[in-house]
């Protein structure tokens, strides 16, 4: 399912547009793809460039400007639920690719093939508008088994995912837009407090995914924060750390509230802060 724009004014929905072309223009004049017949709208006001599952909005030097989510923009990478404002008109951008795919299809690597004959390097030194316009992907319906120079330029990249009908692939097998690397947020805060030696009483909060303890070259252990708890693992040194008087092996050991860790001759206590 292609992404779409929902045009409305004063909360009344006027029309819905599917973003099914590489480049669509918004403006007052009738040749635009999205025509808004209002004097506050420039003849050619803005352009939308869609590359597979991503859409970019660009202000075409309009008189009254373009805002997205209340902020004036020149060029903007549209995200699901963004609201574009042109004069009194609002356009909501919907790109809910996630609901259209099954988990198994997520993030499958696919091949873009090309190039089409006579490819030229994209002008990387051009102004923003020029390079913006050049990076368009031509969706060619038949597999282009052309010369394989191996040097693909975005401007000429033809798309033909292996064994699939082009176009269908683009919409149907979209990778999820999940941001990478969400920290292990589900874990409750914890800390270790040093019980012996010169640093007695010092508390170390386990705020990072990894916290190393000990002396490099002598004995080091690491505490990893994971979604289902905290784990201690031996990293280096002849001696392995002890938890509640028992030496660890090389495997991670889950820590429980008030466990006593002994490492390089120093005792410390692990506990949850909540």
């Amino acid at each position: 399912m292609a992404a779409k724009l929902i045009l409305s004014m004063d909360g009344v929905v006027l029309k819905e547009y599917a973003l099914n072309k590489e480049r669509m223009t918004i403006g007052r004049k009738p040749h635009n793809d999205i025509v808004i017949d209002n004097l506050a709208v420039s003849g050619e006001h803005a352009a939308l460039v869609t590359i597979l599952n991503d859409s970019f909005l660009e202000d075409l030097d309009s008189t009254n400007g373009v805002a997205v989510n209340g902020e004036q923009i020149k060029k903007h990478f549209l995200q699901n639920n963004d609201v574009i404002e042109i004069g009194k008109y609002r356009m909501k951008y919907l790109n809910d690719q996630q609901g259209q795919t099954t988990a198994a299809d997520f993030e499958k690597t696919m091949v873009l093939r090309g190039p089409i004959g006579g490819s030229k390097p994209a002008d990387k030194t051009g102004d923003a508008t020029a390079s913006f316009m050049k990076t368009q992907v031509n969706v060619v319906p038949s597999a282009t088994q052309g010369a394989t120079t191996g040097k693909f330029e975005a401007a000429d990249a033809a798309k033909s995912p292996a064994g699939q009908e082009p176009g269908k692939e683009a919409a149907g097998k979209a990778p999820a837009a999940a941001p990478a690397a969400a920290p292990a947020g589900g874990t409750s805060p914890a800390a270790v407090q040093i019980l012996t030696g010169p640093n007695t009483g010092k508390e170390l909060e386990l705020v990072k995914n990894l916290t190393t303890l000990g002396k490099p070259g002598l004995q080091v252990a690491v505490i990893t924060r994971r979604p289902h708890g905290y784990f201690i693992t031996h990293v280096e040194g002849v001696n392995f750390p002890e938890v509640n008087g028992e030496a660890l092996d090389e495997h991670p050991h889950q820590l429980n509230d008030h466990d006593i860790i002994e490492l390089a001759g120093v005792k410390m206590e692990f506990y949850f802060k909540a």
Binding site: I51, L52, N53, D54, F56, F77, N95, Q97, A103, A104, F106, E107, K108, T109, M110, V111, L112, R113, G114, A122, K124, S131, F132, T135, V137, T148, T149, G150, K151, F152, E153, A154, A157, A162, G163, A174, P175, A177, A178, P179, A180, A181, A182, A184, K208, N209, L210, T212, P216, G217, V220, V222, T224, R226, P227, T233, H234, V235, E236, E250
Partner: protein, 275 residues
């Protein structure tokens, strides 16, 4: 020190939390300082067939050639070192094998794979890659990607169309512009870099760098560099804790000492006797 003594190499591969099977393959040939990682694609088991062919072609062919030749010599009419030529030629060889298998067996139609391979010799590393599998380098505090993906997203970043920050939110991830085995010919991108003692090289599939920020990958390596197997399993675990939506594979190579190729008349004499 020879290259086998100078390097410590560990690898780990895991199907992740969502996929039922693993299309990644990893391999290393410690005797000649070679590490190879491939991320296959294609229906049924075609993905792992493609990545498996690539690993076996590169490891066996390169090991075989280097038993009787030195990676620094210029063989025949070549204008590049044997080490570089071997990577280039064997990626092409893997490409032909996969392409032919895909042409002759309908269940393998359209299969392909990415590849990233590093050959360490003479205090340097030659890196060949196709697609979006990467090599990174940790040197001191600095953790940087060395390879640049052959992907639509990378091209958009290069042309200034999208910022590297915005790229993380793109829905066009995982569209590679070059792959091994999908066409009759493929050209691997090959570069040679100087290596320093203490460097750690990470080869990984996109299942790692899509799930874990570069900064977190770097700090994990930094903290756990004394225990390479633990660092490898920790990286895989981090990707899986963050969702593990793809297969995840890593190879870590730690440079423990210098490995210059011996030169001069004595070395020549010795190598002559070995033949």
């Amino acid at each position: 020190m020879n290259v086998e003594q100078a390097l410590e190499i560990v690898s780990e591969t895991n199907p992740g939390m969502v996929r039922s099977h693993n299309e990644d393959s990893v391999g290393h040939e410690d005797s000649c300082g070679l590490a190879v990682l491939a991320d296959g694609m294609g229906g049924y088991n075609a993905g792992e067939v493609a990545s498996g062919i690539t690993i076996s072609v590169l490891t066996t062919e390169i090991r075989h050639r280097l038993q009787s030749a030195s990676p620094v010599e210029y063989a025949g009419d070549k204008d590049e070192e044997l080490g570089v030529a071997l990577l280039r030629e064997n990626v092409q060889k893997a490409n032909s094998s996969i392409y032919q298998a895909a042409q002759s067996q309908p269940q393998y139609a359209g299969m392909g794979t990415t590849v990233v391979a590093g050959l360490f010799y003479d205090n340097r590393v030659a890196v060949a890659h196709v697609g979006d599998s990467r090599m990174y380098r940790l040197r001191g505090e600095e953790f940087v990607p060395v390879t640049r993906d052959h992907s639509l997203l990378q091209e958009q970043i290069d042309s200034g169309m999208i910022s590297p920050e915005d790229a993380r939110r793109s829905k066009n991830k995982n569209l590679v512009t070059r792959a091994v085995g999908v066409e009759a010919e493929v050209e691997a991108e090959v570069h040679v870099y100087d290596v320093q003692v203490g460097d750690i090289y990470l080869f990984c599939s996109d299942g790692l760098n899509d799930m874990v920020e570069d900064e977190d990958i770097g700090s994990t390596l930094q903290m756990l560099q004394a225990n390479l197997p633990l660092a490898a399993s920790q990286l895989v675990q981090l990707a899986n804790d963050n969702g593990g939506r793809d297969n995840v594979s890593v190879i870590l190579v730690k440079v423990k000492g210098e490995f210059a190729v011996p030169r001069g008349w004595l070395a020549k004499l010795l190598s002559w006797f070995k033949k």
